[in-house]
Symmetry: C2
């Protein structure tokens, strides 16, 4: 094995993924296990880490982790850092679990226009890994169960907001009358239904009325029952873009470039919706968590970086 400069772990609720990185931040190896913090049962955190790392364990190599492992229910709590938050602020917020353990990255906190708190834990690392530390203002989108949108500039997360897009889609499809329509055959094709949903999502209607359109379009024969799930997905992604664009405009971020950090499949759906919204967006890099963990470790002095 080439010599490692850092072991970086993206440690969430269901899974843990470990990266072995060299002193330039390049990924030498990846190991993933279903050892998320809710899956450990009686297994202690040090034992879970040992199982995840296997023969990578080397006390001379520093270790760093991000994600729910730093929550109150995790190994050790790493208190939230307020936005705007720089790489340096995150590195100052690192919490050590103790000897043989790992340094844990704090989550981020902010408040929305109404003063209601918002939090993220794990995504801050992906966000700072996705955007070069010297980049101009960028909107980073991490779609998912709880989508995160962050405004980033020169290694600082200026602000962010959360949309419950993925979880709401699942609740609508699995637990409302809209989903009960969805057992029939699909129509002309999923993309068409998704695009039509995006159009409605980008429109001016109210959410609780607009979702009901899945039912009435299906009843009227204007939407094939098997396309309801895709149509609703488009509606929610479109609405997320519409509402969060408004949020970004208020922050003066409406003219910035948009980076979508997601799997290929999910990123493609968002890029498709952004295109319909007339917003330029590109897919972010893979392994953003590993890059983010490397950058935070460097800022903390855990990794000796050669400077020219």
């Amino acid at each position: 094995m080439r010599s490692a400069a850092l072991i970086a772990v993206d440690w969430g609720t269901t899974h843990a993924r470990a990266y072995r990185l060299d002193d330039a931040g390049s990924v030498l190896g990846v190991r993933a296990e279903p050892l998320g913090i809710r899956q450990l049962g009686d297994l202690a955190y040090p034992d879970a880490l040992a199982r995840l790392l296997g023969d990578w364990i080397d006390e001379s190599v520093p270790r760093i982790a991000c994600g729910m492992v730093g929550s109150r229910q995790g190994w050790r709590e790493a208190p939230y850092v307020d936005c705007p938050a720089s790489l340096a602020a995150l590195s100052r917020g690192l919490v050590e679990t103790g000897p043989g353990g790992i340094a844990i990255v704090p989550g981020l906190a902010t408040r929305d226009a109404a003063g209601v708190p918002d939090v993220m834990r794990g995504e801050e690392t992906q966000i700072l890994g996705a955007v070069p530390a010297d980049s101009p203002r960028t909107l980073v989108v991490l779609p998912g169960t709880h989508s995160k949108w962050a405004s980033v500039e020169r290694g600082v997360v200026r602000d962010f907001t959360t949309c419950m897009t993925g979880e709401l889609h699942e609740a609508l499809v699995r637990h409302t009358i809209l989903g009960r329509l969805a057992d029939g055959p699909s129509g002309a094709g999923g993309d068409g239904a998704f695009d039509r949903g995006v159009e409605r999502g980008l429109g001016a209607g109210g959410f609780m009325h607009d979702v009901f359109g899945a039912r009435t379009l299906a009843l009227a024969g204007d939407l094939a029952p098997g396309d309801v799930t895709e149509w609703l997905s488009g509606l929610l992604v479109g609405r997320e873009i519409r509402d969060t664009r408004r949020w970004a405009e208020q922050a003066g971020d409406d003219a910035t470039r948009v980076l979508v950090v997601a799997s290929d499949v999910l990123a493609a759906r968002y890029l498709r919706a952004f295109e319909r919204a007339g917003i330029e967006a590109v897919k972010g890099p893979a392994d953003a968590a590993a890059t983010g963990l490397f950058r935070i470790a460097c800022a903390a002095g855990l990794v000796a970086v050669e400077t020219a």
Copy 2:
């Protein structure tokens, strides 16, 4: 028994409720059974009607019904009538099931600003029963699983819109992470949490972000876990009022009076939310369905009405 001029049945998915009315439309008696169209099993519609009416059956007294009994899955389909729809148009749309049967009121159909269809079936009768036939423009709100808002003027339903408020609340509370927070003790009191939710609902945020506030407020200790359900209820009712007010403004109905047709408990919640929104609203009459069925029967000539 005093002599009846009409038997009127509000026949929905889970329940059927029959009214015995005199020739002034006054209610002489009420009978309700869990004989909704999805509860009949092998029971035929004529037999279900006989069981509901019991000794009220009198072939000389006309019968009329509204609700899902007129849907494609009901006794006989009474096709939707397009808005704007008058009492006369509804009476012309009555569909007879045949001898010994009943005349069924059609539902209403419209299209929203984006051309997406909207429908109601049963509520049109409550709406026309709640508002005197000679009344000026009124917004009638029927809150519930699928809330209906209708603009009514002099016996004509001009237009309406649906919000999936009740069903969305149940899906959020029972099938998302927001509901899983809600098992703890409640705080200062439900009303306070409901009011705070209404404030957020009336605000300018996006729906999928605003609902996530239930989680972040609870995590931050700003909302007692046991108050999450009430807070979410307030948020959804407030958002329904915010969005539908916009719909009403576009229809030129923003200055009209608002009538809430619901049970005492549910009406009180909406009136409370309307007050916070600075909109004057009052509770509508009880037995609006019976009154609506009587008015439609009169318009159809089923009931001989003495005119002065």
